[in-house]
Structures are given as C-alpha cells and as structure tokens.
Symmetry: C2
Amino acid sequence: MEEGKDNFVFIGKKPVMSYVMAVATQFNRSESEVVIKARGRSISTAVDVAEISRQRFLKDVEVKNIQISTEEVPREGGSLRVSSIEITLGKI
Amino acid sequence: MEEGKDNFVFIGKKPVMSYVMAVATQFNRSESEVVIKARGRSISTAVDVAEISRQRFLKDVEVKNIQISTEEVPREGGSLRVSSIEITLGKI
C-alpha cells in the first residue's frame, strides 16, 4: 500500500466513526478526492466508512470508483494472499 | 435484495469456496454476467469470492462493476442500516 499519501485513509481496527472523521478532515483540507483502503476483514468497515461519509456527513461527495485486488502479505514461512479494496470518494 | 434471480449469488456464512463454485456454476449455465451480493460483515467474503473466481477458476471473467449501498433491515423495535455490495463479474 502507498503509505504516506495525504488523501488515503487506511482502515484498521479503530471504530468506524474515527475513519469517517479522517475522511471528513481530508476533504476539509481541500482534497478533491479521498481514497479509503482496506484489506481482509476490514473491507466491510471500508464500505461502512464510505456509506456513512457520503450519506450523513458529506452531502456533496459521491463514490467515484471502487477497485478490488489481491495483495501478497509477507508472513513467517511465506506469504498470504488477501483481498483488498480501494473506494475513491470525490466532490460532486 | 432481488431474491430468485438466477445470476445472483448471495454471500452468507458458508465457506468461501462454496460461493466460488456457485459463481462458476452460473457461468457454466451460460450466464454472461454473475452478480455477487453481500451485506454487513459478509462484504469481505464477497470480495474474496470475486477475486478467487476471477484469478483461479474463471480466467475469461473480469469485474464489470462494483456498487455499494445502504439497506434497511427490519429488526425488533425498528430497523438497522447495513452496508451492502454488488460485484458484477462478466465474460471478457
């Protein structure tokens, strides 16, 4: 994953609303697009974050693109293939 | 959700591979598109099913469209809003 990019929000184990706030913060910093990224079990949370952001907090934002892919994650004794998602939200 | 449609595969609590087989069966019945649908925590499994189908079992199939939405699910004393996903796979 491209760490350090300003307009990316990486979904982990925090409560959904903390990521919704992170998305809102990016848009308030005048980003025109914010990309929500997640892997494995966090993919469901990424969709929750996108839906809540779009419907309840950022009325002028829509889903611009959704991509799914498979990433190789290094593990002891090899690597693991996990699904990932990138949801791009953008100003209407 | 549109129950009863032949080319829909609804993701629940079964093992991932049983849904991959369901997707493959639809394509073998000469469907040109198969829609994988899931709600809530099953969304991650839906992405796994799409990725495994596309990469390992159905080399001539690609992701045609992905849509996310929010559905109202009736519950005792009201309703619950849950995220959902629809991943459309189609013949290349």
